[in-house]
Symmetry: D2
Subunit: 340 residues, 4 copies
């Protein structure tokens, strides 16, 4: 059965696995203080074009979101997210579990509109009851979004301007960051992210690693961030497990190279969908494709292709999500073409 | 200056104050175990037509909401609220501070639509990712709502049916409960609330008391609720302060009697607004009246009447909120009529 | 039955009650922004000899402790307390509920030893694992302590020195502050507390008020403290309830004057205990007296005097706590003498 | 340099790594629903002699402790730990971050004394103020303890009896469980743990895995435990990473077999220490050895052996901790013998 259900149903990229094997017998420092984590951090900083700043390695996306958000905000502050943001929908309330309110703005293809953000902030500071409200302290975006869409550089710069005006931190969830950066449609680089965000993370779990996300604070991490990582249960005794993997992913541009495969496969998949005359639910240039199908078509396809039912926009239709990854082969997509 | 800004800018109702004075010299048990709290609880249970169940006295609305909600839910559960719900807007994230996500549904005049609640729950339980989501465990309504509107008995029964089907608790925030029950338009009684809700509270602060809300669990309070009250900082050493006040409010039907005054004054105020040809922003039968005015009218009126700017629906208009209370006099309303 | 069980089983001091009665009919601003709260804050600042700083009025002791502690600390920090500290023993884990660890040091008559504090801090900063530990961020003391004892000025200055050396905030829980300051044995004044503490509170509930504690930040409150007060459910809609009471308590030195009564009565009570040849469990100069009695004596006395069993130091003995207050009369103590 | 600093400074056991390599190319279900996690769970249940019950795989020790403890307790409950318990000392307040108080009892070689536990519980339930206190809801033990010591079966049965009498859950932190079970001095088996504990975990990180702990609920996990795992950020997208490792560790008794190596090496190390006439700080039969040395000896040894300074019991002495693991070789110990 063809499996396009997600981008984390496989193991590690062979080059990543190889480094785990090669380093397995070594004794290293623990808790992320090992040479591989240090080396990976340096390579990431170089790739981001920053000389200062801090890089930390955490285990997964939800863990990273809850740790970063709650560590950067004061208790009277909340985090703004698109209503479809991962933190608002599919993290079991982890951010709220840390005591932080998620303030939602309308989503537009999974994105926050800078104008609506500005309007929200103006209304907030114009409201005489604001002392009784959660103060927005951070804007959370996902890049790419949960719908596979991308903020343009202009949009991100607009968000940044609003953040600067109102003292908001800008945080980009990059669980699938590679699949954004590898797109032709993407006009942003790691350097841009480092310039425009206060903190973002580079997803490893979905882009070649067994686990792990690299959190980048381009300027400076909050004081004692490491203790808050520990406090959230997010510190690995064998921190090298993630360090080694990111060290491999950021050697010789591996991260973007393998991400590119997913984009190429997604383009092929899009062509098949278009050829068949199916309707795209949303226009995504990245590795997640959302297709609106009649229920019968959807059921037929799901017998041959493992994929996710995203939603039911009306009683007669079903939106399916097809996901490619660094590991998806041309043959996979051809086989997909044979059955849809 | 006429003050219609809110219903908690005054002291206690004279009959309530009198009981505080009369009992001031007595020595009583502490932490809510005094004879007055016990007596008040009995009177409230009688007024609700329940023989079992538990009544507790807390200090204020936000405190009550956060304590009740977090004490009734499991950590994997969240609370559903209209987007305009007080817990979602004006409690500084107190519920989330307790680790609980507020799940919002659209508001209709401040109310949740039972059909939309049911649809939400069906979608939730049909979602294969639901283990990654916060499980709805409670429906929070305010009665009357933040817009002064009321659920009808039929609507509340519909909510109850949905709650029963999906194992949801139903919690009514009655910070202004008296001003609902005293309305002619209200077809619900305390008995109905006790029958239909798992927990609700009877607001004292806004209806004749200096402070205090009476939380009613018509069947049974969660185990060790008293310890969780203490844990939330919501237990008064001199618990009698609230007990005595509710004992007075529930003697000879005082609570509803004094609430009725606010309703009568609100009706007079509505008549003036209608006579002047102003537009109601929303149709409220209770003690809060929302009037949509041209900005010039709004500014003029605000020079003579202390009231709250509720919102700016468009650049040319301002919505003002006028609030009556048990203490508002006919003269106040006449004076209001002279200036609007 | 003579009641010496605690200092919060009565109503308000008559002068406090009178002001509540006199102001009852007035309309005031809400949420603590009223003229009485402002006036009380000014009087308190004057009594403390400070011109800057902030004063807030909260409802009760546990509420104040949890709000102040969690608002002043960063998430990686904890609060140091004597093992017998109220926050560690009798607040139902309210501080931990806010996510903050209580780090305990041994108690000496309810007090922290400055030398032991310093040793603890040296060990902490000498520990290479300290990033895996909660960073001490505040020292919590109660003044007087839960055992009625007092820190001397020299002891408090020593604590301050250690706090300065290690960047610790010093917070004094003054739930019974009046009963310390009114003692002849007390060599500290409000001015000293304001000089030596980063934050402390002046207890109202136990010293003449129906409810309320005045939190004093002699230098400056944390940013947006008011929102955190709201978030903890600790803001009163009718904030004047507490403001009026503290305004009365800090008019013409009432607070210390009425506290002095408790001290005089406690001295009479001590003399009786000594005359009878009973053993003091601890030497307390304030309004709480702890007496170690044979079980038979204890049982006999408890039939005539309402008081608290403090502990059972050994199978044959019982420690009883007798508490005087501003309201205890000479006749009460004489009656006590007749039965013990 | 000889490295005896800890048991998590290496990679995975070769047989564990081999399975990761062999399965790397497969596509599996995600979030722990894969075949390897299922297989590992079955093997663990078999090894524990249970047919019912639930097994979950989490990432590390602190994460497991905070997730299990906060998911099993009600908000009014706390967890009892020896003062030296890992949750009390070296987890950066993670348990308190989840809102749960850690109640400490004295440690005896790192262990709780069943009699002292019982006395604590009797005092608690005899205390009339207990509603103002955190209710003990769970006993946390580490097995082996942080000092390498072991509860005997009789001791664990005694703890169980007290837990049964007072309605306490018994939770064993088995971060180093293999190193207990592999000892000759250990009279407990996995079956005993499953019979006597309500929940315990089998440490992988320190016993052959790259990461991962297997949480065993011998009877039944709390409802929706999986959602609470997600909420704590403790769910791995590629859950198979841990599943595969535990599947390998519980094939052909690998877990105990490799743990035995650490015990054999520790015995050799102990013999050397004894031969040299050094003093053991504590008598540990497991893979952690604590040696009390004159400062000069300690400094000399630390130049040749990487190890941890445990504490300074007095100005002239230093306690060093030497740790063996499944990977320590006889040559390592011989080399150790040459330099101490």
């Amino acid at each position: 059965m063809i499996d396009l259900s997600c981008d984390y149903n496989n193991g590690a990229h062979p080059a990543v696995l190889r480094r785990l094997i090669e380093t397995n017998g070594e004794l290293t420092s623990t808790y992320g203080l090992d040479v591989y984590s240090a080396s990976a951090a340096e390579k990431i900083k170089k790739a981001c074009g920053i000389s200062e700043g801090d890089v930390f390695f955490l285990g997964g996306g939800t863990q990273t979101n809850m740790t970063v958000i709650s560590s950067c905000l004061m208790p009277y502050q909340g985090v703004i997210s698109a209503s479809t943001g991962h933190i608002n929908c599919h993290e079991a309330g982890a951010v709220e579990y840390c005591g932080v309110k998620v303030i939602t703005l309308p989503q537009h293809g999974g994105k926050i509109d800078p104008g609506e953000l500005e309007a929200y902030m103006r209304t907030f500071y114009g409201d005489e009851s604001r002392d009784h409200m959660v103060f927005p302290g951070m804007v959370y975006i996902s890049y790419p979004t949960e719908y596979g869409t991308l903020y343009s550089k202009a949009e991100l710069e607009s968000l940044r301007r609003v953040c600067d005006e109102f003292g908001l931190l800008l945080f980009a969830d990059g669980a699938r960051l590679g699949y954004a950066l590898a797109c032709d449609e993407c006009d942003l680089t790691l350097n841009d992210l480092a310039r425009l965000c206060d903190v973002f993370y580079i997803g490893g779990t979905k882009v070649g690693a067994l686990c792990g996300e690299a959190v980048v604070f381009p300027k400076k991490a909050p004081a004692h961030f490491i203790t808050m990582v520990k406090q959230h249960g997010a510190m690995f005794a064998k921190g090298r497990l993630i360090g080694v993997q990111f060290d491999a992913l950021f050697t010789d541009g591996l991260y973007l190279k393998i991400a590119r495969n997913a984009i190429d496969r997604a383009r092929e998949l899009r062509r098949i969908i278009a050829d068949r005359g199916y309707e795209f639910f949303i226009d995504s240039p990245t590795n997640q494709q959302f297709v609106k199908l009649g229920n019968e078509d959807a059921e037929r396809i799901m017998k041959a292709v493992k994929c996710e039912v995203w939603e039911k926009p009306d009683p007669g239709h079903t939106v399916l999500r097809f996901v490619t990854s660094w590991a998806t082969t041309e043959d996979d997509i051809k086989a997909f073409g044979d059955v849809v």
